[in-house]
C-alpha cells in the first residue's frame, strides 16, 4: 500500500469526523501557535537589541572606566594620574589595533541664544573629532568638529536636534548652522546639526502625524540633547586658570571611549590598551575596560532564557496535544476493529494497518500545525499591538518549519502505540467483533 493511499484513507477518516478531528487537533494548534509566537517574540527582542546596540556604537566600542584600585595597590593609588588626555595620546600612539580614541569631559553650564534667550542649564561636552565616529553620529546639516578645530581652539559647536528645536522652534533646520549660541556666556558658532535620532516606530508615528508616545523611554534622548565643542576650546575657555599648574594633558577625563579597528582582533586590542594604560597609570590598576560584549552576552542569555521557557511551555502543550491525538486514535481504532478485520481479510498486511493509523495521526497533527500557523499569525498581530517595547515580534520561516516539524513528530510519536495496537489485531476476532 502506497503512502498516498494511506494519506487518502486518513484524510477521508478525518473529514468524516470533522468535529472530533478538530478537537483532537486543538492541542497541536495551540502548541504550534504559541511556539511560533514565542520564537517571533524572542527574535524580535534580539533584533531590537542588536539594532539598538549598533546605533549606540556597536560591539567595537570599548570604554575605559575608573575603578577603585585593588587592596594591594591601595597605598600607591596616588601615583596614578587617573584617566587623562595623556592616556588618549598614548593609546593613539601605541595601541595600533585601536582605530579611534575619544576623550571627553562633560560639564553643565548655561546654554542660550545669542541674545540670551532660552537660557537653560545643559550638559556640554568637550570632545575630539574621533567622537563623531565613536558616538555613531550623523550630521544633518553643516559639518562635525575637525582635528583643526581642536588644534586652533575654535569657538564652534555641534548641537543635537532637540537643542535646536528648543532654542529655535520656528527656524527650519537648514538655517540653524551659522547661528551663534552662548555657552557659559561665551559665543560659539554652530557649525553642524546632528540628525534627529529616533526609533523606527517613532519615526513612523511622526510621519503619520500621530502624537509621540512620551511614556516610553527614549534611548536617544541624551544624543539628541548633545552640545559638543572642541576639547581644547573647552579646556581654555572653562577649565584653565583655576589652577595655573594644570595643563590640558593632565586633565581628568569623564569618558575615555575607544573603538577597536577590527573585531577579529578584539582581544589583542584590549591587551594593547591594558599594556599602555598600565604604563601611563604607573602600574596602578585604577581602570577597567568595559565592552559591549558583556552587555550583549547578558541580553543574549536573558533572551535565551525567555526562548527556552516559552519553548518549553509550547513543547509541553504540543506533547499534551500529542496525547490528545493518541486518545482519539485509540478510541477510533476500537470503533473500527471490524473495519480493520475486513481490511485484513481482503489482504491488508499488519504493516498496512500500522501505516494507515500512523499516517492518520500524523495527518491530524500536520493539519493542526497548519491551523496553528494561521493562529500564530493572529497571535503575533495581537502581540504587535500590545508589545510595550520597540521589539516588534519577527516571524521567521525557520520557526514555522521547526514548529510544524515538532508537531508532526508529536503526532508520529502519539500514533505509534495506537498503530501498533491496531496492526496486532487478529483478523478472525476482528471480523467477529460487534
Amino acid at each position: 500500500m502506497s503512502f498516498l493511499v494511506a494519506f487518502q484513507i486518513g484524510l477521508r477518516e478525518i473529514l468524516s469526523h470533522k468535529f472530533r478531528s478538530f478537537l483532537s487537533m486543538l492541542g497541536i494548534v495551540l502548541g504550534v501557535s504559541s511556539l511560533i509566537a514565542t520564537m517571533a517574540l524572542t527574535r524580535g527582542i534580539e533584533e531590537g537589541t542588536r539594532v539598538f546596540m549598533q546605533q549606540l556604537g556597536g560591539l567595537e566600542l570599548v570604554s575605559v572606566v575608573g575603578k577603585e584600585p585593588s587592596r594591594l595597590m591601595y597605598d600607591f593609588a596616588n601615583l596614578s594620574p587617573g584617566r587623562t588626555v595623556r592616556d588618549a595620546v598614548a593609546i593613539r600612539r601605541s595601541a595600533g589595533l585601536i582605530s579611534h580614541v575619544s576623550p571627553e569631559i562633560a560639564f553643565t553650564t548655561v546654554v542660550a541664544r545669542e541674545n540670551g534667550g532660552g537660557a537653560e542649564r545643559r550638559s556640554v561636552r568637550g570632545v575630539y573629532a574621533d567622537h563623531f565616529v565613536i558616538g555613531m553620529h550623523e550630521i544633518a546639516h553643516g559639518r562635525f568638529l575637525t582635528p583643526l578645530d581642536g588644534e586652533m581652539g575654535t569657538r564652534c559647536a555641534v548641537i543635537g536636534s532637540t537643542i535646536a528645536s528648543e532654542l529655535w522652534p520656528e527656524t527650519p533646520p537648514t538655517d540653524i548652522v551659522g547661528r551663534i549660541i552662548l555657552i557659559g556666556g561665551s559665543p560659539f558658532q554652530i557649525v553642524g546639526l546632528l540628525t534627529r535620532y529616533e526609533r523606527e516606530e517613532d519615526a513612523l508615528a511622526r510621519r503619520a502625524r500621530k502624537p509621540l508616545q512620551s511614556r516610553r523611554w527614549d534611548p536617544f534622548r541624551s544624543k539628541n540633547q548633545s552640545v559638543l565643542i572642541p576639547f581644547s576650546t573647552m579646556f581654555h575657555e572653562f577649565r584653565s586658570g583655576a589652577f595655573p599648574e594644570d595643563s590640558m594633558d593632565s586633565l581628568r577625563l569623564d569618558v575615555l571611549a575607544l573603538r577597536v579597528g577590527d573585531l577579529n582582533h578584539f582581544r589583542a586590542a584590549l591587551e594593547q590598551v591594558r599594556a599602555v594604560l598600565d604604563t601611563t597609570h604607573r602600574g596602578v590598576d585604577d581602570f577597567d575596560l568595559e565592552t559591549r560584549e558583556d552587555w550583549f552576552d547578558r541580553v543574549e542569555s536573558s533572551v535565551r532564557a525567555a526562548r527556552l521557557s516559552g519553548g518549553l511551555i509550547s513543547a509541553i502543550s504540543l506533547i499534551v496535544g500529542g496525547i490528545g491525538i493518541m486518545n482519539i486514535m485509540l478510541a477510533s481504532i476500537s470503533e473500527r476493529v471490524r473495519e480493520i478485520g475486513i481490511r485484513l481479510a481482503v489482504g491488508a498486511r499488519p504493516r498496512d494497518i500500522f501505516w494507515q493509523i500512523l499516517v492518520e495521526s500524523m495527518l491530524i497533527s500536520l493539519i493542526g500545525g497548519m491551523l496553528g500557523i494561521l493562529a500564530s499569525l493572529g497571535l503575533i498581530e495581537i502581540l504587535k499591538l500590545i508589545s510595550p517595547t520597540e521589539n516588534i515580534p519577527i516571524l521567521t520561516a525557520g520557526s514555522i518549519v521547526f514548529s510544524v516539524a515538532f508537531a508532526v513528530v508529536a503526532g508520529l510519536m502519539s500514533g505509534l502505540y495506537p498503530a501498533t495496537k491496531a496492526s496486532r489485531l487478529n483478523p478472525i476476532s476482528a471480523l467477529r467483533y460487534e
Binding site: M1, S2, L4, V5, R12, S16, R338, E339, G341, I342, R343, L344, A345, V346, G347, A348, R349, P350, R351, D352, P427, I428, L431
Partner: protein
C-alpha cells in the same frame, strides 16, 4: 497438484490450562475447479477449518498448502499476501465498509495488491458492473438491499481474480429467493472455472455442491477426497 492440501492438520486452542482440539489430524484435498461445501454442527471445528482454508490462521501442527504456498508456519504477512491474491471472501454479514461507496468497497483488495489508482478504479467499476450493480456504483451500502450488498461483496471477492471464492454462510442473511440468486452466481463462477468453498449449515444448499465435506468433533467424517 491439489489447489488446497491439508495433511494431518491439528489446531489446538488453550483456554486457561485446558486444551481444546478444534481440529484433530485432519487431511483434506480440494482440486482446482471444484465446488465443495463444508457442513457440520457448531463446535465441530467447522469455523476453525474455514479459517485455515481461508488463510486467516495457521495450524498448530501438520502441513498446509494453498495454491502451491506452504503455509504451515506462515507469518501474518505471508497469509495476507495469499489471501489478497488467491482468495475472495463472501461473508454472511457482507462486511462492507459503510463509509465507502460501492466502487471504493470493491477496490479494497486492489489497494493492498498494489494496483495503481487509475487501473484500480477501472477494474473495480468493471467488477461491480459484472455483478449487475452498474447503476449503483456511487451508492453506499446503507442505500442497497441485502442482495445488492452481497453482490458488492462478490464483486469485491472477484476483483483480484482469485482462484478460490470462499463463502461463509453467504445466504444466511437473505430471503430464499435472493439467496437462490446468489447461489446461482456462485454456480456460474464455478462453471467459469473458479474453485468455490461454501460453509453452511443448510443441507439444501450443501446439496447443490459437487462434494460435501462433513466435520464432526474435529474430524472429517465425509468427503475427504474428491
Amino acid at each position: 497438484m491439489s489447489l488446497i492440501l491439508l495433511e494431518d492438520i491439528s489446531k489446538i486452542y488453550r483456554v486457561g490450562d485446558q486444551e481444546i482440539r478444534a481440529l484433530d489430524g485432519v487431511s483434506l484435498r480440494v482440486e482446482e475447479g471444484e465446488f465443495v461445501s463444508i457442513i457440520g454442527p457448531s463446535g465441530s471445528g467447522k469455523s476453525t477449518l474455514m479459517h485455515l482454508l481461508g488463510c486467516l490462521d495457521t495450524p498448530t501442527s501438520g502441513r498446509m498448502e494453498v495454491c502451491g504456498n506452504d503455509l504451515s508456519h506462515a507469518s501474518q504477512d505471508e497469509l495476507a499476501i495469499v489471501r489478497n491474491r488467491e482468495i475472495g471472501f463472501v461473508f454472511q454479514s457482507f462486511n462492507l465498509l459503510s463509509r465507502l461507496d460501492v466502487v471504493s468497497n470493491v477496490e479494497l483488495p486492489l489497494i493492498y495488491g498494489g494496483v495503481p489508482a487509475a487501473a484500480r478504479r477501472a477494474r473495480a467499476r468493471q467488477a461491480a458492473t459484472d455483478v449487475g450493480l452498474g447503476d449503483r456504483l456511487s451508492n453506499r451500502p446503507a442505500q442497497l438491499s441485502g442482495g445488492q450488498c452481497q453482490r458488492v461483496a462478490i464483486a469485491r471477492a472477484l476483483v483480484n481474480n482469485p482462484r478460490i471464492i470462499f463463502g461463509d454462510e453467504p445466504t444466511g442473511n437473505l430471503d430464499s429467493e435472493t439467496g437462490n440468486m446468489i447461489l446461482r452466481v456462485f454456480e456460474d463462477l464455478n462453471a467459469a472455472g473458479k474453485t468455490i468453498i461454501l460453509v453452511t449449515h443448510d443441507p439444501a444448499i450443501a446439496a447443490r455442491s459437487q462434494r460435501i465435506i462433513e466435520i464432526r468433533d474435529g474430524h472429517i467424517v465425509r468427503g475427504q477426497q474428491p
